[in-house]
């Protein structure tokens, strides 16, 4: 899932500095699960902003709404009424949600409360890790189920590099060397020899480098 975290509240407040009334739009999808933008956080942020603005002598009115998911156009219209009489909408969804809102409410000031971080998952209560590089051409079957694209700091396809030290990446003692992990896993699987095959350069056109991506499923698209 997408992992996001809230921006600093001062930065959020600055984005709506001249507003008298805002809608805070939460999302019931990934950001609920990663504890950053669900109904609870939406209400906390709304209350904190009101308090902050009250302190500053510029009272702010808020309304809140948590969409089932902001990344589906059908879940947006229920907000129409609420959006009508606010000066801005603060979206607590990932960047996808913010854009859906901006698309529908063309004349509104739509701002993000979140920094959308990565595709990953929880490693415990309160900790998340990036796991997938969204490269569009998955190689996990060749790397023991460990993503070199995103978990190797250099996205090396034939690792490790000389910076691998005692299982850690040279960028930080906190970061595991992905290629050490890949090596260990393949060894445990008895498939070390597969690592001797040189991987050809990756076709990055399938990733972001090819420009914005889109999937069209002919079998599903009506008419």
């Amino acid at each position: 899932m997408i992992i996001a975290q809230q921006k600093n509240i001062q930065d959020i407040a600055a984005m709506v500095g001249d507003c008298k009334k805002v809608l805070l739009a939460g999302c019931g999808g990934c950001v609920t699960v990663c504890l950053s933008g669900g109904e609870k956080e939406t209400e906390i942020l709304a209350a904190a902003l009101r308090l902050m603005k009250k302190q500053a002598g510029q009272p702010l009115a808020t309304v809140t709404y948590t969409a089932t998911r902001q990344c589906e156009p059908e879940f947006i219209p229920p907000m129409d009424e609420l959006v009508r009489d606010v000066d801005a909408v603060i979206s607590l969804a990932c960047g996808v949600g913010v854009q859906y809102l901006a698309e529908r409410y063309k004349d509104k000031w739509i701002v993000p409360a979140m920094d959308t971080m990565f595709a990953g998952g929880a490693t415990g209560f309160g900790s998340w890790e990036e796991k997938c590089g969204l490269c569009g051409d998955c190689v996990l079957h060749r790397t023991g189920g460990i993503c070199p694209v995103i978990r190797c700091s250099k996205s090396i396809m034939n690792g490790p590099c000389g910076g691998s030290q005692h299982g850690k990446c040279e960028i930080s003692k906190e970061v595991d060397c992905a290629w050490q992990l890949i090596y260990d896993r393949m060894k445990a699987l008895g498939r070390l020899s597969e690592l001797t095959v040189i991987q050809p350069p990756k076709d990055w056109s399938k990733a972001r480098d090819g420009g914005p991506r889109r999937i069209l499923r002919e079998d599903l698209i009506k008419g």
Binding site: N8, I9, Q10, G28, G29, T32, V33, C34, L35, G38, E39, K40, E41, E43, I44, A47, A48, L49, R50, L51, M52, K54, Q55, A56, T66, A122, G124, F125
Partner: protein, 658 residues
């Protein structure tokens, strides 16, 4: 649909809201506790003294350490509620009249319900006062009659009329009452002690339990000698034996057919009797009362082989050659009660082969339309609260009858919440049970004064706080649950199960509310937490500059002083660990000068775990306050150390803030 109830409530014949009144005691709202008790039982004061408390026998806390001291707490609540109680609400008069025969707990309950429904309820009682066995049979050291008086007064205040000194069957017939009233309820109870057709039992020195008790209870001196044998193994036998001890009998021996472990008397009745010097000869049946010159000299008994047959029916068999003769000068029979059927005279009511009233046990009807029954005369002997339950039922059925409703008051199906899972029970902090303080046996056996002294306030509040709030736990709002696993990760008891969405099995959930504090979808609600109550309490500040104190409900005795301070609003939670960040912000938004989170002293919290989570939540709140321009110092996490007075600490903080 079957209603799932806490086992205490489910075991109570009138389904008393035990959990509710215990919670009221825990928050020191004794009037509310009394109201809740009385809501299902017009004999709160009597039952607080004498109920054999099936609730307690079923309490799930037994799986942790010991069941709640429920009857002791009821006793505390009725004492603490004092006078000045709410008058009962009554419906508009219906113009319908109902005669109730017999003013025991069954009949009086029926009359009380009918009066509140707007009918004219008139009770006919052959005694000069009301109360049935409560008045005549229960020993006064167990039931001070002021308690009965209190309950009876409230029943009469609800509009019940009483005609005492009228023996139905002799002074007026049921047939006559049927003409005069729209319906009749027979609640004559079981007022005759059974006799034994064995040699020597016709001797005038052989007494019957009810006559003996009645005389002793009304200040008389029954003619007993110095060596008394009581025959019978039930509670009544224990009452007789202990009364005989108090009347000064030198030796009192209880002889019963049943072996010690299957004696029908409640274990505590037997233990208290033994402590008062009563001897027990279980497993022996009476054969003959031996006399010399008309005076009783002993009781011949025979050893019992078995009490019940293979089908479990009462059918004693004896060892053919093992006899025991016990010397004595008095024999009192306490082997059960039967109905005095004189009320049937000229009634036109059908009777069975044994000459007893023919009744339908479910619909409490008789052979005559409009004539109903209730209490022990139809249910057989049992605890008083069962007679009360039957009185309620009779009233509901009569009300249906009077209103011409064909559908008789339907039986609601109930089921008890299952046992506490072991893994949860292990984690619940242990708390010792507060027992009813009593006078020592040596002292109490000398007179008829009540010997149960009642819990003091602190003990009662502490005891009430042991209740596990069964069934008030987390409920998931399905459409809001994102299956994020947070609840499972934070629950100190490992209760939530996520299968598609979260579910909190009711047997395990301790209703602490910690999961709700962290659920990102606001998908969890708890009756025990009462989120609405919390938010409206905070909103009640209405901008007033004061201190908001979040504290664990009730059990924190120290906070009593704090809540009485001016400018302090105590918001009680199931536990402070259930505190939600929004509430802190909301308090400040509503004008709070400061917010206190009143933590529990080490080991004092009634819930396990959650400390670290609360600390992080407070840390986050402080950071947030700082970044929005409020001093984090206005949020105070008060964690008193050993010997520190939280009220003092909070009062100090209040001064700083205002």
């Amino acid at each position: 649909m079957t209603e799932l109830l806490p086992p205490c409530t489910n075991a109570c014949p009138v389904n008393t809201d035990v959990r509710g009144y215990l919670a009221a005691i825990a928050r020191r709202d004794y009037k509310e506790a009394y109201r809740l008790i009385r809501a299902s039982n017009p004999f709160p004061s009597v039952c607080a003294w004498v109920c054999p408390h099936p609730c307690e026998d079923n309490c799930r806390r037994a799986g942790v350490d010991a069941p709640l001291s429920i009857r002791s707490l009821k006793r505390f609540a009725v004492d603490a509620a004092g006078a000045n109680r709410q008058p009962d609400e009554r419906a508009q008069p219906t113009g319908k009249k109902v005669a109730v025969v017999g003013a025991g707990p069954g009949g009086l309950t029926a009359a009380y319900d009918l009066a509140r429904l707007g009918h004219q309820a008139v009770v006919y009682e052959r005694n000069q006062s009301l109360g049935g066995h409560f008045l005549t049979s229960l020993p006064t050291y167990r039931l001070p009659r002021e308690m009965l008086q209190k309950d009876v007064e409230e029943i009469l205040a609800a509009g019940v009329q009483a005609r005492t000194g009228i023996n139905v069957g002799r002074d007026v017939t049921i047939a006559r009452l049927k003409e005069e009233y729209d319906a009749v309820i027979i609640g004559v109870g079981l007022s005759e002690s059974k006799g034994l057709p064995l040699p020597g039992f016709a001797n005038p020195g052989v007494m019957k339990a009810l006559t003996f008790l009645h005389e002793a209870n009304t200040g008389g001196k029954p003619a007993i000698g110095s060596s008394v044998i009581v025959i019978g193994g039930g509670d009544v036998a224990m009452d007789v034996a202990r009364t005989a001890v108090r009347l000064g009998a030198g030796a009192v021996t209880v002889v019963c057919l049943e072996f010690r472990d299957i004696m029908p008397a409640h274990s505590w009745e037997i233990e208290e009797a033994l402590a008062e010097g009563v001897s027990l000869i279980p497993g022996y049946g009476p054969v003959e009362v031996l006399t010399e010159d008309g005076a009783i000299t002993g009781l011949k008994t025979q050893k019992v082989k078995s009490v019940f047959d293979q089908e479990g029916r009462f059918n004693p068999t004896y060892e053919p050659t093992t006899f025991q003769t016990i010397p004595c000068d008095t024999v009192i029979l306490a082997i059960g009660q039967g109905a005095d059927n004189s009320f049937l005279y000229d009634s036109g009511l059908a009777v069975n082969a044994r000459g007893s009233l023919e009744t339908d046990r479910k619909y409490l009807s008789t052979s005559l339309s409009g004539v109903f029954t209730c209490g022990e005369v139809v249910t057989g002997p049992g605890p008083a609260i069962a007679a009360v339950a039957s009185g309620h039922r009779a009233a509901a059925l009569v009300n249906d009858y009077l209103n011409g409703n064909k559908t008789a008051a339907c039986e609601k199906e109930t089921q008890a919440i299952g046992a506490l899972p072991e893994k949860v029970a292990e984690r619940v902090p242990r708390r010792s049970r507060q027992e009813m303080p009593v006078l020592p046996a040596g002292e109490r056996k000398k007179n008829f004064k009540p010997y149960e002294l009642g819990l003091d306030e602190e003990a009662a509040v502490r005891e009430a706080g042991r209740c596990l709030n069964c069934g008030l736990g987390a409920q998931v709002i399905p459409e809001k649950c994102a299956a994020c696993l947070t609840c499972q990760r934070v629950c100190p008891y490992d209760v939530p199960v996520i299968e598609g969405m979260a579910g909190m099995p009711v047997e395990g959930c301790q209703a602490c509310g910690i999961c709700a504090a962290f659920c990102p979808g606001n998908a969890i609600t708890l009756e025990n937490l009462d989120e609405k109550g919390v938010t409206s309490a905070i909103a009640s500040l209405g901008g007033a500059k004061s201190l908001v104190v979040f504290a664990e409900r009730g059990t924190c005795a120290d906070l009593k002083k704090v809540s009485s301070l001016e400018n302090v609003l105590v918001v009680s939670l199931s536990t402070v660990r259930a505190l939600q960040l929004q509430w802190i912000l909301s308090a400040f938004e509503n004008g709070a000068a400061g917010v206190v989170v009143a933590g529990c002293r080490e080991g004092e919290c009634r819930y396990a775990g959650g400390d670290e989570l609360l600390k992080s939540l407070i840390g986050r709140a402080k950071n947030l306050l700082e970044s929005i321009g409020l001093s984090p110092g206005r949020l105070y996490y008060c964690l008193p150390e050993e010997g520190e007075d939280p009220a003092g600490l909070i009062a100090g903080f209040l001064k700083e803030c205002l």
